[in-house]
């Protein structure tokens, strides 16, 4: 089932004294299926937040349409199935964590008893069990991000839209958010999240869309985008004879590097690797490590972004 669908979605803003039109999103068409974790990757100002705001009905498209669960995004009823965490969330800081979640649960029309249960469960889930009665003005940035996540889940949504959920978090916090997203996926939920942190996408996404300059540059699974071919093979040896240095340097695709007793170099193909290993073993060197390198998503991302600049 298609959970998110956009067709020719375009957004222009009028800015400045002369109200000049600036197009921030160009003709975006994409689909996200149920149960998918979709990573929306792009540099700052690429149009990620604009897309999310269009999906949530916070801004109106200049052209094109968007649907969630088959219904137009401006159909208010469909939002009952959606959870949203904005970027750098600002919340009502005069409320306590519990009151805050209760407010949103109430807005969704979650009945009282169910609300109580969900609030406790969510506070535990995001690790704020003890901070539930503290006013949000006393929360740290990481705690706000977590209570924001809890808020996005209060209605047990089918689709969870997260805007930069891991930015500004420490490595532990980032991992917790990634685990939470995977947990949601395991429960059959669809997660659409934007980020500029490539490793997060690589680790948890089923599919990735790369957006830059308001245009969707690439979309596909991580494997589709990076390919499965080996780009180079890195070989680490020890006990290398000095007389062999030139031969190794000649075969290496980059200058060999000495690290204490070891030498690290890289060859292009598996065949070359086999030949050079055979040669080195015959001359008394020992092989410490052989590591094939595939293209990383970061390389694809940087190439896409650099190509447009």
């Amino acid at each position: 089932m298609v959970v998110v669908k956009t067709e020719g979605l375009t957004k222009e803003y009028r800015t400045g004294f002369w109200r000049t039109r600036v197009r921030v999103l160009h003709d975006l068409s994409l689909e996200v299926q149920q149960g998918e974790v979709f990573g929306y990757l792009g540099p700052n100002g690429a149009g990620k937040t604009t897309t999310l705001k269009l999906l949530l009905g916070l801004i109106y498209p200049t052209a094109g349409r968007a649907w969630i669960l088959g219904k137009d995004v401006f159909d208010v009823a469909v939002k009952a199935q959606v959870g949203f965490l904005p970027e750098n969330p600002y919340f009502y800081d005069y409320l306590t964590g519990r009151e805050f979640l209760d407010f949103y649960g109430h807005l969704f029309g979650v009945p009282y008893r169910e609300r109580r249960q969900r609030i406790e469960a969510l506070l535990q889930l995001v690790g704020l069990g003890k901070a539930g009665d503290l006013q949000l003005r006393k929360y740290s940035k990481g705690m706000l991000q977590r209570v924001g996540l809890a808020q996005a889940l209060i209605n047990d949504p089918q689709l969870i839209i997260l805007d930069e959920p891991t930015s500004g978090l420490d490595p532990v916090g980032r991992k917790q958010v990634r685990d939470l997203i995977l947990d949601l996926k395991a429960r059959g939920k669809t997660v659409f999240f934007s980020t500029h942190i490539v490793p997060d996408v690589e680790l948890i996404c089923d599919r990735v869309g790369i957006i830059d300059g308001g245009r969707l540059a690439r979309v596909g699974s991580v494997d589709d985008l990076v390919g499965s071919e080996v780009e180079s093979i890195e070989i680490t040896v020890s006990g290398l004879e000095e007389s062999l240095w030139d031969q190794v340097a000649a075969r290496s695709i980059r200058p060999p590097v000495r690290r204490a007793e070891r030498v690290v170099f890289a060859v292009k193909t598996e065949k070359e690797a086999a030949q050079v290993i055979e040669l080195l073993l015959g001359r008394g060197a020992s092989i410490v490590a052989v590591q094939p390198h595939r293209q990383r998503l970061e390389d694809v991302f940087l190439r896409e972004v650099a190509g447009r600049e």
């Binding site: 949530l56 801004i59 208010v76 939002k79 904005p86 600002y90 807005l107 969704f108």
Partner: protein, 255 residues
């Protein structure tokens, strides 16, 4: 209705947890108390002076709360981006506007009641009687405050708090003087000027209609003082202001 009520209660909670409200309320109570002194040093009709000035203070401080909370009511939600998590929920935008408005109205209602009781308490100390007629005057003050809140929320939907404060205060001042303005126009203006003044008179809120404090203080029968037409007028005006705010809000991009 329930979603509007959720927003309203949250708005009320925000106001109640804001220290500024307590500062205004404390100051207002102190000022109402000070009328006691004025009345004792003034000659003759001390009872009327207490009521007159006391009701004046209720109106003044109510107006301050209405304007200074009202102008930030919607603007703050947009500026602080708390609006993102509201509009992305299953709630219509007009419901949000109504909820914010009702929340502030509730705040004003509670404040006016507290201030009126403070004034009545003061009168009880001086005269040994509870003057419940004052609630008629403060009820009309509340209606005026509701109109002012409607104006403030309208401006706050598209303008900064400073500009909204200036606009709302201007409309408040004009609204209070509208009857005099019309009188002036009828007597001294030419045909065109008269037409303009008449248009302004019907378009802008005639806040003088809600001021019955003088009549209440002077003991006129309430059935003659409280005009049902003024009440209808107040509610219609508020409805129009809220409808306009909702339309502006509905078409807004939350960038």
């Amino acid at each position: 209705m329930s979603r509007i009520w959720v927003i309203a209660l949250n708005t009320f909670k925000e106001a109640v947890r804001d220290r500024i409200l307590y500062a205004i309320l404390a100051f207002a109570t102190a000022m109402i108390g000070s009328t006691f002194v004025l009345a004792t040093i003034g000659a003759g009709s001390g009872e009327k002076i207490i009521r007159d000035i006391g009701l004046g203070f209720i109106s003044l401080f109510g107006t301050l709360i209405a304007i200074f909370i009202g102008i930030g009511l919607v603007y703050k939600e947009i500026d602080r981006r708390t609006i993102y998590t509201i509009v992305s929920k299953p709630i219509h935008r007009y419901q949000f506007v109504l909820g914010k408005y009702l929340g502030l109205t509730l705040t004003l209602f509670v404040n006016v009641i507290i201030m009126t009781w403070a004034l009545m308490g003061l009168i009880y100390i001086g005269e040994g009687l509870w003057d419940f007629r004052l609630f008629a005057a403060s009820g009309m003050i509340l209606l005026e405050l509701m109109v002012i809140t409607g104006i403030a929320i309208l401006f706050s939907a598209f303008s900064t708090p400073t500009l909204s404060a200036i606009f709302t205060l201007s409309l408040f001042a004009i609204g209070r003087l509208l009857d005099d303005l019309r009188l002036f126009g009828e007597q001294y203006a030419g045909d065109v000027g008269r037409a303009v003044i008449r248009a302004v008179y019907y378009l802008l809120p005639n806040l003088g209609r809600f001021n019955i404090s003088g009549e209440v203080v002077h003991g006129l029968p309430l059935s003659e003082v409280v005009s049902p037409m003024a009440v209808v007028y107040g509610f219609l005006y508020v409805t129009a202001l809220l409808a306009l705010t909702a339309v502006i809000f509905q078409n807004k991009d939350f960038r």
